[in-house]
């Protein structure tokens, strides 16, 4: 399991420098924003679902620490093409892994890189914020 240092050295800084899908969408079907008042991290998320209910396109914007930005960036690539239920299952596993619960790590793929964060609970919020925003954007729309 990677230490905080190693996590930074490998993927976190790389995604912080060149975040994937760092953009607003032209015609999003879903949108939500989130904020961590304690550290000032902010994420704004756009999604476009296609007719089958798959996530066709996703973009995020915001400011914050490298962990939250890297996590948002990796989330956008991980959920692309997934159904809403698949994306939520991914979040459940991701969340379980970070809070030290038994998690289905198989489906996590590259997201496993964050595993070492589980021993730094104060930073887990940073890594899950984008996912909470994702959940909110999808949850809100499902009800409407």
């Amino acid at each position: 399991m990677a230490t905080m240092d190693e996590m930074y050295q490998t993927l976190i800084i790389e995604h912080d420098r060149s975040p994937r899908n760092f953009k607003a969408l032209e015609a999003p079907t879903h949108h939500a924003e989130g904020r961590n008042p304690l550290c000032g991290d902010e994420v704004s998320l756009d999604l476009r679902l296609d007719a089958d209910g798959r996530i066709a396109e996703v973009g995020f914007q915001g400011q914050g620490c490298a962990v939250s930005k890297a996590s948002a960036s990796m989330m956008t690539t991980a959920i692309q093409g997934k159904t809403v239920d698949e994306a939520m299952a991914l979040f459940d596993s991701f969340h379980a892994m970070l809070t030290g619960k038994t998690a289905d790590k198989e489906i996590l793929g590259k997201l496993k890189a964050f595993e070492g964060l589980a021993v730094y609970p104060m930073r887990v919020k940073c890594a899950t914020m984008a996912w909470h925003v994702l959940k909110e954007s999808l949850g809100a729309s499902r009800e409407s």
Binding site: I13, C39, G64
Partner: protein, 398 residues
């Protein structure tokens, strides 16, 4: 190596397996053994509730609790012991004044004058009782604009509420000068001393202010205890804050009457062990060579500035002319939380975020900053370790 460091048992511990480099005394200070032993001794040896027991332990607890008022009164330059009110901390002290002093005087649109560098604890309580806030601006150097202060004091605020020392910038504000100005305008003054009392002696018999408050946990004492000092005439005229046991005179369902201050403001069982620990902390601090501690703080601060200036991309938020040992900065390309996490992996404890001063951060156009703050146990080695850690951050993010 600082001579007092050996009195703090925590420095024999490690953090993330590395020697502890504690640079977060602005958030809370470490505790010398005598403070820990004072609480321990109470619980193990003579624990009892105060004020209504005649038996030995209750008597001793009562004498120790009320006797701490004398210790605090002397520590604050020799004020009256009955002007010392025990509270949970600075935050509760300010809420008490907002509720019991300011609120009865509130009229629609009435203002409280604060400053741009206030901690949220010296902002929200006034808002909660309905005051409109005006804020004395902070200059680029991180100092109060005294001309603006003079003008704004003339605009008729009900109160000037100002911090003695900025928790974010370390700035030591010219309280005596501000108090003299306020007096000319007939404006009473509350001073938030949370970051001051641990760094230099404060003499309330000459400062010219009306309320002063601080927290025990930032003064080498326990958590959950703090002090509100108020001028006797003001305290005596104020209605209670909270109600309950020990603050009453006569109680009936129709009407109750209350005890004199300071008892009137101490409803319910207080943090007895905390007050006893605070007594030990103040005695400990008072027994130190305080000018020597101030010199040490200043020397380390100068050394710290010099070291950190060598870190590429590091910017200090401001650099006030007169300040205590606090270094607050940002780094190009590295968020304060990431800085703090990487330092953490080296055993270095600093704080990242807005330090409960969102308006000050807005003033300087940054959402967050990294802060290293000193205590009397801080050493040059701590600063070297910090610098080394920051160079590593630079390497990763550079």
């Amino acid at each position: 190596m600082s001579s007092v460091r050996a009195e703090f048992p925590i420095f024999s511990r490690t953090s993330r397996g590395k020697p502890l480099t504690y640079l977060d005394s602005g958030a809370t200070t470490q505790k010398p053994q005598v403070v820990i032993d004072a609480e321990l001794g109470f619980y193990e040896g003579w624990n009892a509730n105060i004020h209504r027991g005649v038996y030995e332990f209750s008597e001793r607890a009562t004498m120790a609790y009320d006797g701490t008022r004398d210790t605090v009164a002397e520590f604050l330059g020799g004020v009256r012991a009955d002007e010392i009110v025990f509270v949970r901390g600075t935050t509760e002290a300010i809420n008490l004044v907002a509720h019991s002093y300011l609120k009865p005087k509130m009229t629609p649109g009435a203002t409280v004058l604060v400053t741009e560098m206030e901690h949220h604890a010296n902002i929200i309580p006034w808002q909660l009782v309905g005051a409109t806030l005006k804020a004395i601006p902070v200059t680029d150097a991180g100092e109060l604009d005294l001309q603006a202060a003079e003008r704004m004091l003339g605009e008729g605020p009900l109160l000037l509420a100002v911090t003695h020392v900025s928790n974010t910038l370390g700035t030591i504000n010219p309280i005596a000068e501000l108090a003299a100005m306020a007096k000319r305008h007939g404006v009473p003054v509350l001073v938030d001393g949370a970051q001051a009392v641990g760094h230099f002696p404060v003499d309330l018999t000459t400062l010219g202010v009306d309320f002063y408050c601080f927290s025990g946990h930032k003064l080498f004492g326990p958590t959950g205890v703090g002090v509100l000092w108020g001028r006797h005439e003001l305290l005596e005229a104020m209605p209670p804050f909270q109600g309950g046991g020990d603050m009453i005179d006569r109680v009936t369902f129709e009407r109750s009457t209350f005890a004199a201050s300071p008892q009137r403001f101490e409803a319910g069982t207080p943090n007895i062990a905390g007050v006893i620990g605070l007594d030990a902390a103040i005695r400990w601090l008072s027994a130190q060579d305080r000018p020597a501690l101030e010199r040490l703080d200043a020397e380390l601060l100068a050394a710290g500035y010099e070291m950190l200036e060598q870190v590429p991309g590091l910017r200090f938020i401001a650099r006030p002319a007169s300040q205590v040992g606090v270094l607050t900065f940002t780094m190009d390309g590295a968020h304060p939380h990431d800085i703090a996490s990487i330092l953490d992996s080296e055993g270095v404890c600093i704080r990242a975020g807005h330090h409960c001063t969102q308006p000050l951060h807005a003033r300087f156009g940054v959402p967050a900053s990294a802060r290293a703050s000193f205590g009397p146990y801080t050493t040059e080695q701590d600063l070297l370790t910090l610098t080394r850690g920051l160079l590593k951050v630079r390497e990763l993010f550079g």
